[in-house]
């Protein structure tokens, strides 16, 4: 809401974006991209999109950067191959300029930034703001729209996370017995930059102390999403980050002891199942899919409006479970190149 601050942040973002594309060293580019995401999350907080900022901080700047770093680690950070792409780049520059100028042309038609009565702010969103409390008893409108009015979207979004995990697992996972027989992967092992595992007591102790608090905070974020910023996605990512921290500071063996490969697959599916299952229960109780109000028939001492509120909590738990476990699972796959032996 502070225009000057917004403008400064946006200029910095532009700088970071250019740098991220310009820097030759991949690790550098990835780190600059992390800074870009973090600045982006400040801009969103400026625009009063606190839930989005929260998600971006956890997902974009946090886990996304971890994924990128793991990939750069398990491949290569230098790209020495040189070929003149000048003509392609110039051609694409013209294409992009045409699209961009068309977009700039439309900017004149757009309502001013921050206009509360612009069409985008009037029709649906004003209904949500004015009726969320009456319809669902949830003050955080973002949660009520996310989990109830547009609950079907969110179920599919959880599904997307599930798909991403299953897809990455299916693409990258290699069984140990097979790897040892495979000649090429042995050569490949030599190509991967070798690094010494530093067995640091400080890191271990620090993460040991941090992890319980991270998880406690994450549970708060999940459970308190009705009243404060946060919800299943944010909480789930923080929970996932705590597991990733465990895997980074110790080793895979320790973290896999807590949450083995089999359990990861089962829990990822279980999360989506909780969400879809609540929807199916609604079907059996005679309502439409995801019509939580009919749940009042089986939940004790709730009217149909409170039933929506309770069901949203159940749904958020499902989301958190899937997101937590899949973020952890994706990290395991990406950082060990699918071998599940050692990570960053």
């Amino acid at each position: 809401m502070i225009i000057g601050f917004d403008v400064i942040c946006l200029c910095l973002i532009l700088l970071c974006a250019i740098l991220a594309l310009y820097i030759k060293d991949l690790m550098g580019a990835v780190i600059v991209f992390g800074a870009y995401s973090f600045l982006m999350c400040i801009v969103w907080a400026c625009n009063a999109a606190i839930d989005v900022a929260f998600t971006e901080a956890a997902v974009g700047a946090g886990v996304g950067t971890v994924f990128l770093v793991s990939t750069v680690y398990s491949t290569t950070r230098v790209d020495s191959f040189k070929k003149n792409r000048f003509i392609t780049q110039l051609l694409m520059f013209f294409v992009v300029c045409i699209v961009g100028s068309l977009l700039l042309l439309t900017v004149t038609d757009l309502p001013e930034w921050g206009d509360g009565n612009a069409p985008a702010n009037a029709h649906l969103s004003s209904y949500y703001l004015e009726n969320s409390i009456d319809d669902t008893h949830v003050p955080n409108v973002v949660t009520s729209v996310l989990a109830d009015y547009r609950g079907f979207d969110t179920m599919l979004e959880t599904c997307v996370v599930f798909i991403a995990f299953i897809a990455i697992f299916a693409i990258l996972r290699v069984r140990k017995s097979r790897t040892n027989n495979d000649e090429t992967s042995k050569i490949f092992e030599l190509l991967v930059p070798s690094y010494q595992k530093v067995d640091s007591v400080i890191i271990k102790t620090a993460s040991h102390l941090m992890i319980p608090f991270m998880q406690l905070f994450a549970l708060y974020v999940v459970a308190h999403g009705h009243y404060s910023p946060g919800g299943g996605f944010q909480g789930g990512v923080i929970l996932g980050a705590s597991l990733i921290l465990l895997a980074i500071s110790y080793d895979f063996k320790k973290s896999l002891n807590y949450l083995s490969e089999k359990k990861v697959i089962l829990l990822v599916a279980l999360g989506v199942l909780i969400y879809a299952g609540i929807g199916v229960i609604c079907l059996f109780l005679g309502g439409n899919f995801l019509d939580y109000s009919v749940l009042s028939k089986i939940l004790p001492a709730t009217d149909s409006i409170m039933a929506r509120s309770h069901a949203m909590l159940g749904v958020e738990i499902g989301v958190a479970l899937t997101v937590m476990v899949s973020m952890y699972g994706i990290y395991l796959c990406l950082s060990s190149n699918g071998r599940f032996d050692k990570g960053l």
Binding site: Y36, D51, L103, G114, L129
Partner: protein, 129 residues
């Protein structure tokens, strides 16, 4: 000047998106392509969030008053006081979809690297032909 300031977000949106699009189409390194993809996506997210901002509004959590029995008191809510929740929800979805795509892209990148020993598109194409 006033006009530019009032539409500043949209102008930055266009520049960021075009930067990302250019990167995706013309950079040769696969990781760089994925970074450009993420930049392109954040550009669109910024577009949505900018359209949902309202001057002088608060975050979209309704200030609820309760009576002595913890029952909410009915109150009229003016939507101008709160930022647009709809665009925020859409973008929560878009961010999560974005990171899912990024993860999948990175998994493919690792497989490409173990197959061709390179992250450079030109080098890979050269080794294939």
């Amino acid at each position: 000047m006033d006009y530019i300031l009032n539409h500043f977000n949209y102008i930055i949106v266009v520049i960021i998106m075009m930067l990302g699009l250019w990167g995706m189409l013309s950079l040769s390194n696969l990781v760089k392509k994925l970074i450009s993809m993420a930049i392109f996506q954040t550009g669109i997210i910024l577009f949505y969030i900018s359209m949902g901002a309202k001057k002088g509004s608060s975050i979209p959590i309704i200030k609820q008053a309760y009576d002595d029995h913890h029952h909410p008191i009915h109150q009229t809510i003016n939507h101008i006081d709160y930022a647009n929740p709809l665009t925020q929800i859409l973008m929560l979805t878009a961010i999560v979809v974005g990171v899912a795509t990024l993860g999948l892209g990175l998994a493919l990148t690792q497989r490409v690297y173990s197959e061709h020993k390179s992250l450079n598109e030109d080098e890979i194409l050269e080794s294939l032909s």
